[in-house]
Symmetry: D3
Subunit: 322 residues, 6 copies
């Protein structure tokens, strides 16, 4: 199981979702002459919004894979015991010693994501060239992760991200073509494995997700269509801008892992306090939030959890300034 998490963790670092999210974020914050170059600004800013959702998706998959790695049973009043003895030497020890069996912005060797991974030269052609390279690097990385992992949640994750990442590859290639005439779509697929050959990608392709750029603002990013149009370079189907973000789904509710004190050594105490606070504040007796049911066993409910992960990604809408 170790290397499964290894692979997935790698999508939180250099060629992963933290990088795509924060590269496009800083590029759009710093974008000069937004009005003059509106279609390109809209593209970068809008994809940035989608990438934030992908960071959550990756975190979700890692959290799911980590759930159950330690014994879940209640501890009957005793001391700490040895619940972590069985994860000795299993993957990144930070997941257990620093974190609470949760995702961290670092790779499986404990090296963190860092701001040097952000490239924002301000030169539009240069930044788009970088983004195209970043997306191909991310695709390369994800294909290898796919080849390494066996956990269904990890395969579902990569299958979905490969489809959406492919959309971004095409988007940046189109932007460069519109600006300079250079047609980078001739390089597809890079690496040379068509996404449609990947079983976990197929359902997303079937419903047309490889053709769609979702607009993550109700009133902004209207000029996506000036870049995102024409035929898909591999299938020839028409590229489409969808005016709404993908539908959202409830967040996962991850079960407590008392071995690592997450959210507490005695989680039920917190629940009692929460209930009391709710009451005192005049709120409903029951927790008001809507969550996806906790995956009791991370392996058996994989299918449904996958579906959720996917749709979660689609409703991320980090609203930005217009």
């Amino acid at each position: 199981m170790r290397a499964g998490r290894e692979g997935v963790s790698s999508t939180l670092v250099k060629f992963g979702e933290m990088s795509t999210f924060l590269n496009y974020t800083f590029q759009s914050f710093n974008f000069r002459n937004k009005q003059g170059a509106r279609p390109f600004y809209d593209l970068v800013a809008n994809i940035s919004a989608e990438e934030f959702g992908h960071v959550e998706l990756v975190a979700n998959a890692i959290n799911t894979m980590l759930t159950g790695a330690t014994p879940n049973g209640s501890r009957n009043g005793g001391g700490p015991g040895s619940p972590l003895a069985e994860v000795k030497g299993v993957g990144n020890p930070h997941h257990f010693l620093a974190g609470g069996q949760g995702a961290l912005p670092q790779n499986s060797q404990g090296r963190p994501w860092n701001g040097d991974y952000v490239f924002a030269s301000g030169d539009l052609v240069e930044d788009l060239t970088h983004n195209f390279f970043l997306e191909t690097g991310a695709r390369n990385n994800k294909l290898k992760v796919y080849e390494m992992v066996e956990h269904p949640a990890a395969r579902a994750l990569t299958g979905f991200l490969l489809v959406r990442g492919g959309v971004h590859q095409v988007a940046y290639a189109r932007a460069i073509e519109k600006l300079t005439g250079a047609d980078l779509t001739k390089m597809f697929p890079t690496p040379r494995i068509p996404t449609e050959k990947i079983p976990e990608s197929k359902p997303h392709i079937k419903r047309g997700d490889h053709l769609r750029l979702y607009r993550f603002s109700p009133s902004d990013y209207l000029e996506l269509a000036a870049v995102w149009n024409g035929p898909h370079p591999e299938t020839g189907e028409d590229l489409v801008v969808v005016d709404d973000p993908p539908e959202g789904v409830p967040a996962h509710d991850l079960p407590p892992q008392p071995a690592v004190f997450a959210p507490d050594y005695a989680p039920e105490e917190i629940a009692q306090i929460a209930a009391k606070l709710r009451e005192q504040a005049g709120l409903s007796k029951e927790a008001t939030g809507v969550v996806a049911s906790a995956p009791g066993n991370s392996r058996t409910k994989t299918k449904s959890s996958t579906t959720k992960s996917k749709s979660t990604a689609r409703r991320k809408t980090p609203a930005r300034s217009r």
Copy 2:
């Protein structure tokens, strides 16, 4: 001017907005037993959403300060010339050599933000203790930045962030009190300068922004009120949950800086291409986006640009899974 940017850059690293944003983001992604501890989950997740907006605010202020640092005049067909000669030895050279006179996730000495700054132990009391410490560290840092900077945009930024940071300090103190009974609000203000003494903070306090927690989701985070209630520890006024996020404002449109090729050596070419693409896509002839007018001279228009920055922050609503 150098140290002014120095100060502001420091709010993009260890004790700044990148850290508050990404700490709360990962903590909320990884939160175990969300339903059982709903008021606390809602608090952390909701503040995370606000912090993303603060990252944009800081970037905006830096971009405003950098605008005009190099000559703006068009280059009449010639070679590169020496437009950067006058920023020799002025502050972080990365702003000119790596970036396009834009914000980067690094401090003034070029050291990047990194994922080691994220603390997410999963233990709720521990994470809240961290967040309380992080907010006091951020307040300490921002007060010193305030003392160092003279540029009005930087003073306006810090004045506003000190008010909102103060809200988060109180919020985490309240959460700890609700969970454990320990009343950390007795430590306020830390450092021992009341925010109300800061001229640039006063207008925000006057309109009550030091009392409000904005809810950054139309349908979620309903249990904020279970933690955020009672009197403000310094003024005694009632704490209030506002059901809507703060109103948004258009993004700044930063003028081109051809000296660093942002967005191009010849920005007008891109504008022409954009116009043509818009037309081909059947969009309006004019750029559709709404932006705040570009600050032609970063010093003279400070007042209005400040107002914008402030309100920009208030409308950030990175929607999250319910």
Copy 3:
């Protein structure tokens, strides 16, 4: 055994003894207005002295765990052979390739302790808040290490350090209370496992070590008592300042590990040279130092070695300027 060392190594980095030692050291070096704030200066400076001893304790435990990991037999005149073949892939390879089966200031993934872990803002309330957070983070880390390790030396180490770390948690909470009125002891225990439930901590609690602050200077740090007084927050017993540092014990004498050339490929040659030098210098024929007997087999003699480790810690007295 790998993860055992993994756990223990983690106490030499961010939330471990190197950090507590060097944070309090720099804070006390830099302390402004020592006389005006004497009780607080004395507290920080005195705990710094104890923490240095803890660094040695941790190093000792790691060295004990590493002893015997490679074959001990003498090499009869031959070449290097393959004595390290059996530690392939076992834990941090630096312990064998860079070090001589000895402790290094780095975690199990080879990432070193670094000076960014030192927080010394100079603001007393802020620094104490940090120290309180650092001690709770260290307690969280050590409890998890305890849960992971099985080697008796590692369990003995963590059992002892949890008691002393608990004392420091209380000390910083008290200091904050004395300064601001905020009572952080209501948060105890954090994490929510009472130290008294830990078998290896019990003997130390039984002899009252959870109540004592040892004074690590014969003539200084007299004002510890102005902060360290009143009842223990968990047991209600009186807190006590002990005027002498804990009694010392001889250093461990670790056996040679010729596989890694520590202290040499042919250790006996060095011993002969040393004997000769001693003689030439008119010193005694036998080595003059007093050491604890070498643990020939790191597993069988654990009990006694533990006792030693514990007492070693108690006699560390890095004398400081008055």
Copy 4:
């Protein structure tokens, strides 16, 4: 003044006192077969103890240089003002923004000391070779710092450290000679400037400090004399082991710097609380600690403060296990 601090800060990183202190510390913790190689163990462990005092000395010098860099006047009830405006662009901004005008374990460019600077191979000849190289690198660095600084405190510091560092150079050369016969003292002085040519070193040479190795334990490290004997390689005078550590002096009491809230925005409040706590604890009404008088103006009192720094170094006695 900037580069003065720049130079001095560099002695807290790679080739400075943090490195010598922690290299020898870890080497002595990990030393295998202490008894068999006693003279060498005693040498490394004893020098480690002295180096800790040097770290304090360097911190002291930096703190003295930073004192007064910001306005000292009390702030009459107002907000923060602009007290840091005048240190804009002056040296490492961390000294003001992160720290409280105090020393930090980082160089002037904000890069921290890190554990990779510790070399502890366990092979005695190899470690001694490293230590010899480290001391020559440190001498090279300090001579250049001396050439760069003009502040008398910095010159006094380097003048003293060059004498003591020279002692350590000789010590490691002697150790290698005793072990292998290779006489590295023929390389002295490296770099090729005799220490006796340095005005600030002369008084220390005059009183014989270039010949002495102080024994930092009342009962241990008795075998120093087996290595430290014979003539000084440059002067021919006899090397001497002094059985007591150098006499200590009180710690400096650095005046408050309210601009950076050190120890508080309103330092007198803390003094009042401290007085009250002392009273409640039945201690003397006056602060009990003995400190060197605060250098009101860092420039005028340089001479006496220098004397203190020097003697402070001499009494550092971080007691270690026998």
Copy 5:
């Protein structure tokens, strides 16, 4: 002068010659199926050889700029003096405190080049995409450096490197086109300043250096011509493979800088020793090496030194395995 070196130093890090050299070096070492993909292997390996020469060129320019920064006069037997006082706060202090007024593989803020800058995925299309992006990033960086520096040696250096870097941009674009059909040369020039507009580039263009790929092996890399052919994308002239490496020139002989002990505090002593050794070895009385005459004054002899730098680059021929 500071920023001049700042700019040039930046060409030794992320987007500079160390990166191009070591990226192509590792890619060619690791190249799989060299025979099957010979034209591409030859291209990458051959450019790697040229880039090593560029590292030397950059080092030369920095060394020239640093020469004379400290007083050159002999020191008449005295102590160190204050020769570095005048470089206080001038640029990267490492050049004086760590180095001997010489180039270091780090940027002006002291952050070193590191191996994370090497991208070697093994996927040929991906690696070529990276290399194309790296070359455009390097061009962007160098154009900005050009705009910032005024020292003639630095302008000459960048003028020359922009021509050769342009050749590599075209080369990787051609390689991608040959492999995939995507024509990236349509993006040129990126950034949008034609190299021919740069005065210091013109002489190199005039003699056709923008069209030539030099073959850095007498017997290998014969298949460069399979990629490097056709018209230059900007000028339409024919691309040419030159079968010999550019003619070499003698290395610069940099004058001693006794202030930083380079090569010694008393350089003449070394010269005397060298002469004696030469004699003892039966070599000629005079030094046998051929060097360019030392630039006594770095400003007056710039023109000739530039010419040399240029030709030095051309004769670098790090021979590689066939």
Copy 6:
């Protein structure tokens, strides 16, 4: 197999060939007064050239060890499959996820080589002292690697490098002796294992390679003989300068590893394109390069591949400026 690569990877970082290569390279670039100190310049520059070849040798060995780690079979048109599942948790995941089963300038824990490892003080005695220490550290590291690895390619590599590294140890010791009179050869062997005891070193010693310094320039570095002369410190045989570099051998041709897309998912496509390009360019129909035959199975052909590695090293001749 993991630790085998672990060991070998460590020779690409701090105490490995990247460090020796780049230390000597920068030292020789920056060498001041080359003519005055010619024998020493020639020595450093010439060894630098040899070390570059050693970097390639190490890369070769790692590549050989990685070859075959994933299934080699062609993929018949399908999707990615799970070819990396079997390397889960096996060594540095970067070799598979970031690289294409190829060497990277990082250790087995993914930490990269960095420019801080370069020491170039400019002071000749100091730099030579460093180089001597670096070579002993490298010897220590390589002996331990030898003890850990069992793969014949790795043993052959270390056996050879120990001989050549030993030559460099002697060379720097001689240089120091010639300059200062200090005879460091008395310390040999360090560590205390004679190279001649190592089976894989014996053949190289037998043919006299422990006595030879090869001159890596046809016309330069003539003064090597002024330093490299006299008897070998361990064997007493005469040291010899060989006027030609060692004879070269063809580069290895590593077989494709389609699992990681190296050089492609479908390598045969690239071969077809290459053939066509060759034809269009009027080159021979067959690939023109000469390569060593690909090791189909990395274990069976070890012997011959070793021989090649060795001789490859001997012909590296990175030509430098005279």
